[in-house]
Symmetry: C2
Subunit: 481 residues, 2 copies
């Protein structure tokens, strides 16, 4: 296996929508045609009509006949973080580690990514751009007796590919119990057969598609957030320098705006950050020492504050989420028809990060936050996660900085788009993702569980397993491609 | 707070035994005098004579009257790693995060470390060099009603110090249930009052003392292993270059031998490593995905394969360890007399790392290994951990590579010393720590849960919490100071 894509290659892929395959408008057409050709009929059903799923006799936990896939059970939570210190809730328990994998291959020196037009029962639209492979261990072991996922061999057989990214990253801590997936990108040099429903895209194209609501799915964003456009190791070039080199070779990239330039500099600068890596690690250590999280299994039938009827399990205030059941009929899935439970949030969420230039380099205000399903008490989350991410009671004060996203006023909204949660577990669950850059003269009081980090520092921390939470990754992917 | 110690400063401290306080022989004399002046009488007692400790009525767990400190309970273990797939054992459960902290201060541009001559009931000798502060949360909250630990304020009040190291690192996975401590080094500029039993030492002095058995205690080695002599970040100088600069300024360092030079190069070189950081992270991800670890609480009185009598809890084969009780009378401790349980391994252990030059740079053969108390299934451990670290039955084959340490033959033994486990939990528990460098022509078959890493890569991974296990840290500290 030859040497991998150069640093310059990743950056060029991120800056170009020129494709030797499909132009971005053609990709949109193709996605439309995939949606027309592949049918996916989803309808809500009463729990009693579920086929392979049932409520376990003693516990009332919602389980699959085989014991595979996942189970929905109850969790008692105690923490000294946030306005509510103790509560109970349903949570998804799926201890196995799945693979979310994307194949990359270079054409004319530019890496392309093999993306899949995939339907999921919970999607608001039918088809979204998904990783090359989304495989749970249930897929491998064929709990559902379907076909093996396409292209899986490129991730399992290491002699056929080079690893670019291979990290364990966490899922939503408000909905999953300590769940994480293997985020993988592998590079291949050989020809890869192009099957139906798959398409090669540049990072620039994926970034453009991420400005359109609900097109680039959650798993794709999670995986792509791990891409490093510039290497932090010595010898890696600084952002401004590297950018100049790319602009020289590819004048089309001259069209990037000043915010994009700022993002590249923030990903490439080493010396100008407000905090050193050791200071940031110390802050994380302090937060993990300061905050407690104690969780305990509770049978689903005995979760306090939640009520189950024929069609749903809901919190009594109607502010959090609902567990429901659907029947699905599909054309292009391994299994043509099935029933399954899904979760639906009671309201759309806001995931927002504040940005500002400090010492000439763009920094992002990140929060050290506790969610019940986090593996290690604290993860680094966006400035604000509200809605699916923050199930505070109505009486609680709004989270800090929420106003900056509801009424940005004189500040600059640098990114804003509605994106979906993963349609295999979440039903019509959408969040608004936003980045707001503060005006230079803005004054801001920052509680000590918040810290300003550069894009490069966030990319460095992504290499520490399960430190950067999924909301942050979702947003990073839309920004930094 | 002014800028911290320069890269050159740490390296100079590591290379010098010249001290403006006590010479190394004077430190040895001082340790002897502390041992004479401070009495610590320890005797084994039957469990029934323990004062504040008792076996809990229902479970038989060994607990403190207050519920504080720690408890010894039972654990059922299932794993697909190693020759034994299922067993039960006693384990120490101490969920709180303690502080192991060392104060550093520069004199004449050279950083010194404030070390404590401390007695612990389990020490084979009485006094060992300990961190400035060893504080559990029980110390802070004063469960045992003693004095607050000296110097603790420098670690709690951040305005008085600069953080050099502040990481959560794991303890022994064979004896502790997911325990970790906060490893801290803080730099101060102000005068620090020098109390009895404390002394300023250079890294070079501590490294010299670590060649003598049982002088530098386990916690000191754990904390000091986190020191980075050369910064991996861009702008950081390469090992050879930096060393040349030090030798120019400080000719005494010319006395270092060729292995020490190799160590410095291995800590400073970026380009010559066998594997990239991404490849190493992928290997760790693969190991965490491949190996399973399921553990479950068992009441101590019902742990299969272990028997309790008046004076000890032992495994029936007598191959693992024993839980016992001691009565302690001390002069210089917060509490003048107490009783407590300790653990004693049934045999001394061997902790060994194989080294070899690859592409001109020293690499170390590290193992991805599962121990029951690991927080995340797998940690990076030495080539061999045998004895306290590997409680395999007599019928199991010896661990790979053990022969290289029992009969090094033509290979070079680069470091070898007997060191103690922490005397506050372990009774006369000693391991031989060794580094053996393979002859250049040696052929070695390496199973795929082993990987060759440079010293710099190990230092990088130390910044990822609880990835580098304690045995590795103990050995690194003796090597890389």
């Amino acid at each position: 296996v030859a040497a991998g894509t150069s640093e310059l290659g990743w950056l060029q892929s991120a800056l170009t929508e020129e494709s030797r395959f499909r132009s971005t408008p053609e990709v949109l057409e193709w996605l439309g045609s995939r949606a027309r050709e592949n049918t996916l009929a989803v309808r809500r059903i009463p729990f009693a009509e579920m086929d392979q799923w049932h409520f376990e006799a003693q516990s009332g936990d919602l389980v699959h006949r085989t014991g595979g896939f996942f189970r929905i059970e109850g969790l008692r939570v105690r923490t000294n973080f946030g306005p509510v210190r103790e509560w109970e809730q349903p949570i998804i328990n799926q201890p196995e580690i799945g693979i979310l994998g994307i194949i990359s291959r270079s054409f004319d020196g530019i890496p392309y990514f093999l993306m899949q037009a995939k339907m999921e029962p919970g999607n608001v639209n039918r088809v979204q751009l998904s990783p090359t492979v989304q495989a749970t261990r249930s897929n491998f072991s064929r709990v559902h007796k379907g076909r093996l996922p396409e292209y899986l061999e490129y991730f399992l057989d290491r002699s056929r590919s080079r690893v670019v990214v291979d990290l364990l990253q966490a899922e939503q801590g408000t909905r999953f119990l300590r769940k994480r997936n293997r985020n993988m990108i592998v590079e291949v040099d050989e020809d890869v057969p192009l099957r139906d429903d798959f398409c090669w895209l540049t990072l620039g194209q994926i970034k453009r598609l991420a400005t359109i609501p609900n097109l680039v799915n959650m798993d794709s964003r999670s995986v792509l957030s791990n891409v490093r456009l510039m290497d932090g190791a010595p010898g890696g070039r600084r952002g401004a320098e590297l950018l100049a080199k790319v602009l020289e070779e590819r004048p089309f990239a001259g069209a990037i705006d000043s915010f994009e330039r700022d993002l590249l500099v923030s990903q490439g600068e080493h010396g100008q950050a407000l905090h050193s890596l050791d200071e940031i690690l110390s802050w994380i250590t302090e937060m993990k020492t300061r905050y407690d999280l104690q969780t305990e299994y509770v049978p689903l039938s005995r979760v306090r504050g939640w009520t189950r009827d024929e069609r749903g399990i809901r919190d009594d205030g109607g502010r959090f989420f609902e567990v429901l059941a659907v029947a699905v009929q599909a054309g292009n899935r391994e299994v043509p028809a099935w029933t399954q439970p899904l979760l639906q949030s009671s309201r759309p969420g806001i995931t927002g990060v504040l940005a500002r230039k400090i010492r000439g380099v763009l920094h992002f205000l990140m929060q050290a936050r506790v969610e019940p399903g986090f593996r290690d008490t604290v993860e680094i989350t966006p400035t604000v996660t509200c809605g699916q991410g923050c199930d505070a009671p109505a009486s609680a004060p709004p989270p800090p900085f929420l106003d900056h996203f509801l009424q940005p006023g004189r500040h600059h909204v640098r990114y804003q788009a509605v994106q979906s949660l993963e349609g295999g577990r979440f039903y019509h669950d959408q969040n608004t993702y936003a980045v707001v850059e503060l005006r230079p003269d803005a004054e801001l009081e920052v509680p000590d569980n918040y810290l300003w980090l550069t894009l490069q520092q966030l990319k460095d921390l992504l290499r520490h397993n399960t430190v950067i939470n999924i909301d942050t990754r979702e947003l990073l992917a839309c920004l930094s491609l």
